[in-house]
Assembly symmetry: C2
Homo-oligomer: 426 residues x 2
C-alpha cells in the first residue's frame, strides 16, 4: 500500500493537481525499487478509489475526483461532493486482483499463432470447438440441457438479443422484472416489442433468477418450477439472463431455469465478460430446439461478432480448466472480503448493526438500528464518498447491502470507519 498512500497524500494535499501524469509503472517500480506488480496494484487501487484515471496508452493521470477527495472528507455536508466516490459498495464490477492476466495473455498469444486459421471467416454461430466447451460448461455448472448445436456465440448479450428478437417477433410483448435494466429493455423496444413488468400480459418473460435482488437474492427452486410451469401452461417464452450466476451462490448453485425446464421453453443467456475481463466481449445464448431450427435457416445472414482469436483462446482456456479455477478463486476472494467486512461492521457499530443473511459471497447485508430511512442513510453515505445499495424491505430501519466486488481488501477498514463517522454525525 506504500505506493497507494504515497500518491493519495500527494493528490489530496493538492501537490499533484488534476491532470498530472503519474510516472509509468516501469519507472515508478525502478525509482522506488519495488516490483512492477506492486506498483500496478497500487495504481489500480488509486483507480478504484477515483484518485487517478487511466488514459489510453499514455498512462495514469490525477482525476478531478482525486483532488476533491480531501474537501469531501472535511466538509461532508456540501451536496456538491457527489462525484467524490471513495468506496463503491454498489459496483457490479469485478475484483481487479482476482484475474490472472498472464494466463489469458498466454492463451491469446498461442491463438494468434494459428495464422492459417485466422485467415478464414469463422462460423457465424461461433467456432465449433468453443461452442462444444461452452455447452459442456453450461451442462456441468448450470444443469443446462444443450449441445454445441444449440449455442450461439456473440460479442455481448445485446448482440445475441439482436439475433433473438427477430426470431421471436411474433411474440409482441416482453416482461422485465427489473425495468431499470435499460440495456435489455432498449433492444426489445428497438424491435417494437411492448415492454412492461406484467408477466400475465406478456408473451416473453425476461428474468435473471440468479440476481433477483440487487443484493444477490436468488430465485428458489420452487419459484423456478412455478415460473417454468406458468410459462409452459400459458405458452410464454422465458429468457433467462443468468448473468453473474457464478458468484451468486456459496456452494452448489440452484439449477438454471433452462435446465429445470428441460431446455424446451427457455432461452439461456450467459456471459464471460464478468468472469474474465469486462473488456473481453464474449457471451453465449442457448436456444431451444424450435428456435435453433429457425436460427439455422437465418444464421448465414448474421456475421459472427467475436474475433476468432478470442474464441480460440477462450476455448483452450476453458478446456484446460482455467475458467473453473478462476471462478473458484474469485468466489474465495469475495467470501473472504465479505467475512472481513462483516467483522468490521460488528466491531465498529456494535449493537447499532444487525447482519442479515445473504446467499451470495459477493454481498454483505445488514440493518442499522437507528431512526433513519434507508434512502437518507445512503444519501449521507454518498456525500462522504461511500456508495451503498439500498436494500430496504421494511421502513422502520435502514437496510443496506454492500457489494465487495471492487473495493480492495485493504480499503474495507477505512471504509467502515468513515461510515461509522457518517452515521454518528447524522
Amino acid at each position: 500500500m506504500q505506493i497507494y498512500d504515497y500518491y493519495k497524500d500527494l493528490i489530496e494535499s493538492g501537490k499533484m493537481p488534476e491532470g498530472t501524469r503519474l510516472p509509468s509503472i516501469r519507472r515508478c517500480a525502478k525509482e522506488r525499487n519495488v516490483s512492477k506488480t506492486t506498483v500496478e496494484q497500487g495504481y489500480m487501487c488509486l483507480c478504484d478509489d477515483g484518485y487517478i484515471l487511466p488514459k489510453s496508452q499514455s498512462g495514469y493521470y490525477v482525476s478531478k475526483r482525486g483532488n476533491t477527495t480531501k474537501k469531501t472528507e472535511t466538509k461532508e455536508e456540501t451536496a456538491s461532493q457527489k462525484n467524490a466516490i471513495l468506496y463503491d459498495f454498489a459496483s457490479s464490477g469485478v475484483d481487479a486482483e482476482s484475474f490472472n492476466m498472464d494466463i489469458w495473455r498466454r492463451y491469446l498469444k498461442s491463438a494468434l499463432r494459428q495464422g492459417e486459421r485466422l485467415l478464414f471467416y469463422g462460423d457465424p454461430q461461433g467456432e465449433y470447438d468453443l461452442r462444444r466447451e461452452i455447452a459442456k460448461y453450461a451442462r456441468e455448472t448450470r444443469n443446462c440441457v444443450c449441445t454445441e448445436e444449440n449455442i450461439v456465440i456473440g460479442a455481448g448479450v445485446q448482440t445475441l438479443l439482436n439475433i433473438l428478437c427477430p426470431l421471436v417477433k411474433n411474440k409482441k410483448s416482453v416482461c422485465f422484472d427489473d425495468l431499470s435494466y435499460r440495456q435489455g429493455t432498449a433492444i426489445f423496444s428497438d424491435y417494437g416489442f411492448k415492454v412492461n413488468d406484467n408477466r400475465e400480459k406478456s408473451n416473453i418473460i425476461y428474468v435473471s433468477p440468479s440476481y433477483s435482488t440487487r443484493w444477490g437474492d436468488v430465485m428458489s427452486v420452487k419459484d423456478r418450477f412455478d415460473l417454468t410451469d406458468f410459462a409452459r401452461k400459458n405458452n410464454k417464452l422465458i429468457i433467462e439472463d443468468d448473468y453473474g450466476s457464478e458468484f451468486r451462490y456459496f456452494n452448489r448453485p440452484t439449477p438454471s431455469l433452462q435446465g429445470l425446464d428441460g431446455g424446451e421453453n427457455v432461452v439461456y443467456l450467459g456471459t464471460f465478460s464478468k468472469l474474465l475481463l469486462p473488456s473481453i466481449r464474449i457471451s453465449f445464448m442457448i436456444l431451444p430446439k424450435g428456435l435453433t431450427e429457425a436460427y439455422m435457416k437465418k444464421k448465414d445472414l448474421y456475421n459472427q461478432t467475436v474475433s476468432k482469436a478470442d474464441q480460440i483462446a477462450l476455448c483452450s482456456y476453458i478446456r484446460d480448466g482455467h475458467l473453473n479455477s478462476q471462478i473458484r478463486k474469485s468466489r474465495k476472494i469475495y467470501a473472504q472480503k465479505s467475512k472481513i467486512l462483516t467483522d468490521l461492521l460488528a466491531e465498529n457499530f456494535g449493537k447499532t448493526v444487525t447482519i442479515l443473511k445473504t446467499n451470495s459471497p459477493l454481498y454483505v447485508r445488514c440493518k442499522f438500528n437507528i431512526n433513519m430511512t434507508t434512502e437518507a442513510f445512503c444519501k449521507s453515505a454518498e456525500k462522504s464518498g461511500i456508495l451503498l445499495i439500498p436494500a430496504n424491505t421494511s421502513e422502520e430501519y435502514p437496510e443496506i447491502a454492500f457489494s465487495v466486488a471492487t473495493v480492495g481488501q485493504n480499503n474495507l477498514s477505512n471504509a467502515v470507519i468513515l461510515l461509522e463517522k457518517v452515521v454518528r454525525n447524522s
Copy 2:
C-alpha cells in the same frame, strides 16, 4: 510449390482419403527440411484450392472436395461435380499472402500488456484514441468530413446497423441497389423497414459506390453528386457502405459520398475485416451531426462489441502507418496478379478473347468472341472447378470478370490452361 504438388498428388490419387490428417506444419517442415513458412504457404494454397480444410486447433484434413478433384478434371461433363472448386475467381475474400500476421501479432501482444486498461469497461462508442485515428484515416483516404465525435466502432457492419436502425426508425423504407446483399437487407427487415430497390419510393438509400458492379465498377464523381443532390432535395438519408473501397481504385480513389455531401446527409460505413483479416471483426460508422446527437442520448444503452485489446492494437497499428502500407502492398499484389492473368488470357485464347477496361486492380474483365451465353460459359467453367463472375452487359458474347483476390499467383497459369480446355471442348 513442392509441398503443394506433393500433397495434391497424394490426395487426387486417393492415397490420402477424405478426413486424413496432414502432418503439423512444424513436423512437415522438419521432415521435408524446409522452412515453416514454405509449408504454411503450401498448405494455404491447398486450402485455397479446396484440397484440404483447416480444423480448429487440430490441424489440416483432406476435404471431400479434394478427393473429387481428380474425377472432375477427367470427366468434366458430369454435373455432379459442382462442389469441386479449384480456382475461385468469384471470391470476395482477401489474399492470404498479403497480410503480415507477425506485425499484427506484435501489436496485439503489446495491447495485452496494458493490463490495467483492460480491467475497465470501454467507451460504448469505441476507444477515444482509436476513433481519432479512424477519423484521421477516413479524412485522408476517403475525404470524409468527420471527427472522433462522429465515429462509432462496432464488431462488423451489422452491429453498427443494429445501432443505426433504431435511430432512423421514422424513415420506414430503405432502397438497396443490390437486393442480393441479404446481410444488409435482413437487418432492416428485422426492424420492420420496407426494403426495395426503388430510390424514389424509399426514405433511405443504401449504396456501395465503390462497388457498384460485382466486377469493381465504381460510381463516377458526377453520379455521386447527382445522388447526393437527389437525396438532399428529396430529404432522403444516404447510407454509404464503402466496403472494399481500398482496392477498388488504381490511383487516387473517387471521394466518398460522405465527403462530397459534406457529411450532413450521409452515414458512412467502413470495415477493417477486409484490410486485415476476415477473422478480425472491427468496423466503424460515421454519423452526421443530427444522428450523432441522437446517438449520444442513447449510447449508454449499447455496449461496445469490440474487445478492447483489438481496439488498442488497431489504434497503434494505424498510427504507426502499417494500415496504409498494408493497403499499398495488397494493391500492388492484386495489380500484379491482374497483369499476369491478362497476359495469360491473351496468350492462351489469342483472338478469342478481348480484354475490357476495369478501374479496379482486383478484377480482370474480358469478352470471349464465341457463340455462347455468359451464363452457359460460367456454368461449364464451374463444372470444371473454375468460378467466374458473369459480367454480361450484352447478350451476343459471354462477358466475364475474374477476381484475383484469393487465387494464388502460382495457380493462375493452370487455371487459364484449364479454362481454355473447357472453352475448346464446349
